[in-house]
Symmetry: C2
Subunit: 286 residues, 2 copies
């Protein structure tokens, strides 16, 4: 019998690359539900990023209900007045899982940035609630967020558009639909502008769990890590906007389900190592 | 006055990423013409890869004539009978620059592979003629050639389709339209299957010159080098076709005009170093 005092700890943070399976299988979303630890969690769905919130909410209501949610709450936040509304803050406070849908990440940050709803979300995360987001709802999680720039234009100075994100995880910059939209050059440009941050490029139907200093890849798709920490040179500071960016010595890893990464050691953790060393049941490789 | 015996040496080999400028500017094609060293070179255009050879030939005839070609020869090789025809072999023998158009690289290798025209082309290359190709005409140059596989499917075992190429350059595998079609994951899969070969991913309106052990990037676009020689692990041999491939520790370089790479030392050469050390006027950085 464990009599230790239970100190609250931040909950799991999950970033999904978009287009996750919402059918019976729902490999990723069922993991998200399991991360909450409860039998029948309350799920809050934030559809602010989407221009079709009704359709998006209905779709997630179906899948989360099927996966055993006690309730699926509709956080239909469309403007900054909504983002301060006590009823939405109250919903966040009741949620065990807070799910942020896809759409436009600039809608998320411009409507929710600094709002009472976002403060409540951060507090629930610190208390242990699961925060998960897909596509725009994943991209917004980093401290600096990528919000635009066609892959075909990137590696041209200024092509990748960045803004301040929600800062739910440090040390990384997240991009989504990564393989499907060929966004490797986007994160190479991001790395050239500041090599300190690990680029986390999440493919469709793939996800990462951020848990303290460990990243775990899961789901059927790929997660590409773009490590610019050994970059030896780039011309990016010499250029005018639109000129071609060079960047040398970018390290990449293509991870699949069961692989992880240590942000503190900057190295890949294989499935065996994760199984052997993980103290966290939530990242146990099953 | 240089009285040394002139030993024949292989000519420059140029791979272009597709969609090169054919207007007045024609930065890449004018470099290709200059590489021949002659005042008014004879240019042979092989349109075998294309399904619209007349249009393609007309377009290159215009640009090469504008750039000072003495003649632009129409190598309208459509089948293996053509590929053995003495008149086409004779044209190759007269050419100072042999240009291979884009289209389908499998048409190139299946029609020209082992043919008298290809033998003549190799001989002319050894004698010093310039060989240049764009898109399919570039991809075919490596010993193993990538000929298919949607970028969105790659890093799934078997998604990238490979076959034997013309082997005009050793040690590399060439891919084209690289940034524009997001083909990074293709060359990561190729590297996982055999880390020995340097992936050379050429963007549109970008080119590489292969000269002995040196690669030089030129033109307005990017050249991405995918170096898998330090790959620490991949699951590729454990998988069934279609399963997600992991590959760890791939090094990438985004080169722009004036940067080079030493295939023997496996390292990037900056513009200053290329200027200082190059003994070859043909790769002099201007």
């Amino acid at each position: 019998m464990n009599m230790q005092l239970q100190v609250p700890r931040p909950g799991p943070l999950v970033a999904i690359g978009g287009a996750e399976d919402r059918s019976q299988e729902a490999a990723i979303l069922s993991r998200v539900m399991n991360f909450s630890g409860g039998e029948a969690p309350v799920v809050a769905v934030i559809t602010t990023a989407s221009s079709i919130p009704q359709e998006v909410f209905d779709s997630y209501k179906d899948v989360f209900s099927m996966l055993g949610a006690a309730e699926v709450l509709d956080l239909r936040i469309r403007d900054r007045i909504d983002a301060a509304a006590p009823e939405f803050v109250a919903m966040i406070k009741r949620a065990d899982v807070i799910f942020i849908s896809g759409g436009d990440q600039m809608r998320l940050t411009s409507i929710l940035g600094g709002s009472p709803v976002l403060h409540a979300l951060r507090r629930r995360h610190q208390e242990g609630a699961v925060i998960a987001g897909t596509s725009a709802g994943a991209a917004c999680q980093s401290t600096t967020m990528v919000y635009g720039g066609a892959a075909t234009d990137s590696l041209r100075k200024g092509a990748v558009k960045m803004a301040a994100g929600f800062g739910l995880v440090d040390g990384v910059i997240i991009d989504t639909h990564f393989l499907e939209r060929g966004r490797f050059s986007r994160l190479m440009e991001v790395g050239a502008t500041n090599p300190e941050f690990l680029g986390v490029g999440i493919g469709e139907d793939a996800a990462v769990l951020f848990d303290k200093n460990t990243i775990l890849a899961f789901g059927p798709g790929h997660v590409i890590l773009v490590d610019s920490s050994d970059v030896t040179s780039s011309n990016v500071f010499e250029l005018d906007d639109g000129e071609a960016v060079s960047v040398l010595n970018v390290r990449m890893h293509a991870l699949v389900d069961g692989y992880g990464y240590s942000l503190s050691d900057r190295r890949v953790l294989g499935p065996e190592e994760l199984k052997a060393t993980s103290l966290e049941p939530r990242i146990a490789y099953t």
